[in-house]
């Protein structure tokens, strides 16, 4: 029941609301106290006070007060609304929706509550609820077009295309006079309706509708594209061809227009000369078009290819286009094209040699001869045509001509990266950076290479040359604010390699949080977009946000976090002696202490530096200090994260989005198996295993996991519930239940004896199956004699030896160093730095 207030207090209460809305929290609080002095149990005032306290950052207190308010006045919509807002603030959207619904039941006409509920329903994808809310909002204000469009969007997102169209039509028919030609909202609403008709698959009707609205539509490009698409789908080839030509006239750099044009002209078959003629036509009318000249290289073959490639290559190299190789490398999957391009590039350089005086050389530009050399350097650096020695030679030749050229240095650094020499790669990239200090691109590359070389402090310093460093959090806080995912991920991965697991988790969590922010970011647009009238872009965004964490940015950071948590879990097991491993406990304990000490030292150093930074700060710029008081990170090194008692639960949190959105990513399935087998969730582990088998049955990791699953089931199957046993028996088909693993594993090895990665896997399994460790260690040395450029399996083998605390590790490292003398990883470990 509303609790009555005196008229003076009533006006005070209105002031509280106003103060809150205008963010004058202190005043609002004072006024609320005034009311509460006389009416200590006034629910609405208590609720408003809670809301203000919450805005001041005291969430717990706010919740307690809001509950008190509800106890005082269960029937107040304000109390329930506030309760919902607090939950909303906490991002507990389910509870917020419940509270809003209570509030709305008590005050059905409140537009404010209705709006808050509707946006939350859209955010939570409760489309049935959203339809209800939007229907109510339409009923209360049916003169507003956006309310009609919003209801249509609700039906559309809920999957009811017919109803969505009907709502839009109803509004259109209610219009007495046609909207002006420049009414953007109208123009977009009509196109939105058109897209719904097409989405239902009725292209003829979509085309007819489009023709009826095309004339004055303000989105010309969309009209032209949709028309072309519908005509093509309807088989109206001549008209479709005309439509695609209209599009090419606007933009001759969109490959899809060409392919669609040639398709509707029936030229996508074997008659490549007719097809090429179309491209030639556009190359002629658009002399600066790249696509028209380059795209025919995709389908031309034999001598036609050679001729066209020669023309293109000559043109690009004469002009000095640095991306020439990048634009052609996709052709390298065709061996003929790969070889042709190689010989053409050689011819080009030779031909230039015989010409007298290359005028471009004087300018130090990447034109002519240097461009040809640059192409060849990249050619021999590419994995499908790799010969790193040759690649380096071409870089050297290029640098003789243009010694200060950044691109050649960048390529040189990449070559060393491919050799595995991360140290040299980082040094050369840094040298390249010094040649063009104003360019952030080369700066970014340098920082990335430094991170690959595990030089995290140096990398941050490099980054700081372009970040805003005026907050006490320094460059790192700017990188987090600006959502620099690549940096956070690389820094996390480098921290893993440096043994700083807490710091690594800190970075991976930062990426995780950015994705949370990105999901939250759409919230404001549920209302904003309707007011802007940009409906198609909004619907696109909603659909993209639905699978936001499909992005490889997410997967990579999440895989890093999962691996780190698995490591934490496993080392705990070892320490507790659970898996009976006897030889590691003391060492692990010591190592952990060492790591902790190292981390603490870093913490102190970071703190010291932060203080120094703060001291150095220009006193005329006080801004940073205040804003940083608000959010002080109480775990800057992630020590709390690393000391979690539930590493597998944490790992699962990172895992679920990968399994949901990127099920075809084998690394995700592999990680899923590792998490679930440790959690003894055998059906889920099996599901991951089977998915991995479906993606790549020959993968060495899949072999390991299948054997491990087989082994674990032999031991545990009997103790599992009957239903689970049954499912496992029918679903686990990778290895037959009766298989003798000790025979199975050698068979696998025999099949893959030339692949180092498979050999390492088979040896891992030998040890797992109980074979003598010494024998396994010895077998790992075979990896060194496989005569391959790929040193990474050997790096894994070295890691295994360390993990097994093998006395052979050092001997293996030395041997690997001799086999691959450039690989930084196989160099002797640096002597521990004296503490600074």
């Amino acid at each position: 029941m509303p609790q009555p207030l005196s008229s003076k207090e009533n006006s005070l209460f209105r002031q509280v609301i106003r103060n809150y809305e205008e963010k004058q929290y202190k005043r609002g609080l004072k006024a609320a106290e005034q009311i509460l002095k006389k009416n200590p149990k006034h629910g609405d005032t208590l609720a408003m006070k809670a809301l203000i306290i919450n805005s001041l950052g005291k969430t717990d207190e706010a919740f307690a007060l809001a509950k008190e308010a509800l106890t005082a006045d269960m029937k107040s919509h304000i109390c329930w609304h506030v309760y919902g807002l607090l939950y909303r603030h906490q991002k507990n959207f389910e509870e917020a929706i419940k509270a809003y619904k209570f509030a709305l039941k008590l005050e059905p006409g409140s537009p404010q509550i209705q709006r808050d509920l509707a946006y939350l329903q859209a955010q939570m994808r409760d489309f049935q609820g959203y339809i209800q809310s939007r229907t109510a909002m339409l009923q209360s204000k049916s003169q507003l077009r956006q309310n009609w469009t919003a209801l249509a969007v609700a039906h559309h997102l809920a999957g009811d295309l017919a109803q969505a169209e009907k709502v839009l039509t109803t509004y259109e028919e209610s219009l007495k006079s046609p909207p002006s030609n420049t009414d953007y909202e109208n123009s977009e609403a009509l196109l939105y309706k058109n897209s719904i008709i097409a989405e239902a698959g009725d292209y003829q009707r979509a085309l007819d509708h489009l023709e009826s609205i095309a004339k004055h539509n303000l989105d010309r490009l969309a009209v032209l594209e949709l028309r072309a698409e519908y005509l093509a789908k309807l088989g109206k080839k001549d008209e479709a061809a005309k439509a695609y030509r209209a599009l090419l006239a606007r933009n001759s750099e969109h490959p899809e227009y060409y392919s669609k044009l040639t398709e509707v002209m029936g030229l996508d078959g074997s008659d490549t000369s007719a097809r090429k003629a179309i491209y030639d036509e556009y190359a002629e009318s658009n002399p600066r078009s790249d696509a028209a000249k380059r795209l025919p290289l995709d389908f031309l073959t034999g001598n036609d290819f050679r001729e066209a490639a020669k023309l293109y290559l000559t043109l690009m190299l004469d002009k000095g286009v640095p991306s020439t190789f990048a634009n052609l490398k996709h052709l390298y999957t065709d061996p003929f094209k790969k070889e042709t391009l190689e010989s053409l590039a050689h011819d080009y350089v030779e031909a230039k040699k015989s010409q007298s005086g290359d005028e471009s050389l004087a300018e130090g530009e990447l034109k002519g001869t240097p461009a040809g050399l640059y192409y060849l350097a990249q050619h021999y650096n590419y994995h499908l045509s790799r010969d790193l020695t040759k690649s380096l030679e071409f870089v050297d030749k290029g640098l003789e001509l243009v010694p200060k050229n950044v691109e050649f240095h960048m390529t040189q650094a990449r070559i060393w990266k491919h050799y595995g020499n991360t140290r040299k790669a980082a040094e050369i990239m840094d040298h390249a950076r010094n040649l063009d200090l104003r360019d952030r691109y080369i700066n970014t590359k340098t920082a990335k290479y430094q991170l690959r070389n595990n030089e995290t402090a140096k990398a941050l310093k490099t980054m700081s040359l372009f970040t805003r460093n005026d907050s006490t959090g320094g460059p790192l806080s700017d990188l987090i604010d600006m959502q620099s995912i690549w940096y956070l991920t690389e820094d996390g991965e480098a921290s893993v390699r440096n043994g700083l697991i807490g710091l690594a988790l800190k970075r991976f969590h930062a990426v995780y949080n950015i994705f949370d922010v990105w999901q939250e970011d759409q919230f404001d647009f549920h209302s904003f977009s309707l007011r802007k009238g940009q409906i198609r872009a909004y619907v696109d965004t909603i659909r993209w946000e639905d699978k936001l964490r499909e992005h490889p940015f997410y997967t990579r950071a999440a895989l890093g976090a999962i691996a780190a948590y698995l490591g934490i879990h496993d080392s705990k097991l070892v320490m507790n002696g659970v898996n009976g491993s006897t030889n590691g406990t003391a060492n692990d304990e010591a190592e952990k202490k060492k790591a902790l000490k190292k981390a603490k030292k870093e913490a102190q150093k970071a703190e010291r530096e932060a203080t120094e930074q703060a001291a150095k700060q220009d006193p005329n710029k006080p801004k940073a200090a205040t804003s940083d008081n608000v959010k002080k990170d109480d775990d800057p090194l992630g020590l709390k994260l690393a000391s979690t008692e539930q590493p597998l639960v944490e790992a699962t949190k990172f895992l679920l989005p990968i399994l949901q959105f990127s099920p075809k990513n084998i690394d995700g399935q592999v990680a899923g198996f590792e998490v679930y087998i440790r959690r003894e969730k055998y059906l889920l582990a099996l599901h991951c295993l089977n998915s991995a088998v479906a993606i790549d049955a020959a993968s060495p990791v899949v072999h390991e996991q299948a054997v491990r699953f087989h082994q674990e089931m032999s031991a545990k199957l009997a103790s599992l519930p009957a239903k689970v046993t049954e499912v496992i028996k029918t679903e686990f088909t990778a290895i037959d239940a009766s298989t003798d693993l000790k025979k199975y594993n050698p068979e696998f090895l025999e099949r893959h004896k030339d692949s180092a990665a498979h050999v390492v896997s088979a040896i891992k399994i030998r040890k797992l199956l109980g074979e003598d460790q010494k024998a396994c260690e010895k077998a790992l040395f075979d990896v060194l004699s496989l005569n391959t450029d790929d040193w990474e399996p050997a790096a894994e083998a070295l890691g295994l030896l360390f993990q097994w605390r093998s006395s052979e590790a050092e001997a293996f490292r030395k041997a690997a160093d001799e086999t691959w003398p450039e690989v930084t990883l196989f160099k002797p470990p640096p002597t521990p730095p004296t503490t600074s």
Binding site: R220, N327, H330, I442, D524, R531, R536, H551, T555
Partner: protein, 221 residues
């Protein structure tokens, strides 16, 4: 290379390209704000030759133009503004920046009736200044002192779009004689520059969107 309109799903890699290339950076919501307010105006250049590493790879963005309409034009004239433009160092000399700009400018006129387009550029950025003035025909309007966060001055530039407007008019005239005003009245209407006539529309205020616009302005594009 593929030059096409920006799609919302491009945004993470646009942001990535921006962070790699330029010192002026923005969080995702600011990109969303552009993509959802003026989806017609922003374009991307995609490296379509890049082999995929996973089935979930997103199109690799090697260049982009992030553009908007001025929401509260101080002069009362509808005009576009280039928030950010960049092309990866590895993909220069293909004319990508120019092509992106031309597509954006066309859409500014067609969809929003822009009279001109404005932008800021660092006074030291010779390559960009060359592109704007020599290739695209921008005029140097004025210098804004200490415009950038690091204290550098900016040239404020603008390009009159009436040529595009005339071209559209000619094209549509020849196609359909009734269609004389393709750009619409909003486009050709020049508000008299009197303070009280200027509409103060606080778009997105209280929605968080405006807040981020302000945050950006302090950072400067």
């Amino acid at each position: 290379m593929d030059i096409r309109r920006l799609e919302p799903r491009d945004i993470p890699l646009i942001q990535h390209a921006n962070l790699e290339n330029l010192p002026e950076n923005y969080f995702m919501k600011y990109y969303l704000y552009h993509a959802l307010s003026w989806p017609q105006l922003s374009y991307v250049a995609v490296d379509v030759s890049r082999p995929k590493k996973t089935p979930y790879d997103y199109p690799k963005i090697v260049g982009y133009v992030l553009a908007k309409m001025e929401e509260e034009p101080a002069d009362g004239v509808q005009h576009g503004h280039i928030t950010s433009l960049s092309v990866m160092r590895t993909h220069r000399r293909l004319g990508i920046a120019e092509k992106l700009m031309r597509q954006s400018q066309l859409a500014m006129v067609e969809t929003f009736g822009a009279q001109y387009v404005s932008l800021h550029v660092r006074v030291s950025n010779k390559a960009a200044i060359h592109l704007y003035t020599k290739t695209l025909g921008f005029d140097q309007d004025k210098t804004e002192a200490s415009y950038y966060a690091d204290g550098e001055d900016a040239f404020s530039m603008r390009l009159d779009l009436s040529i595009i407007r005339d071209q559209i008019r000619d094209a549509t005239d020849s196609e359909d004689i009734d269609e004389g005003e393709p750009v619409g009245e909003a486009g050709s209407k020049t508000l008299p520059v009197r303070e009280k006539d200027l509409k103060k529309v606080k778009v997105g205020r209280g929605l968080g969107v405006q807040a981020l616009v302000e945050k950006d302005e302090s950072k400067h594009s």
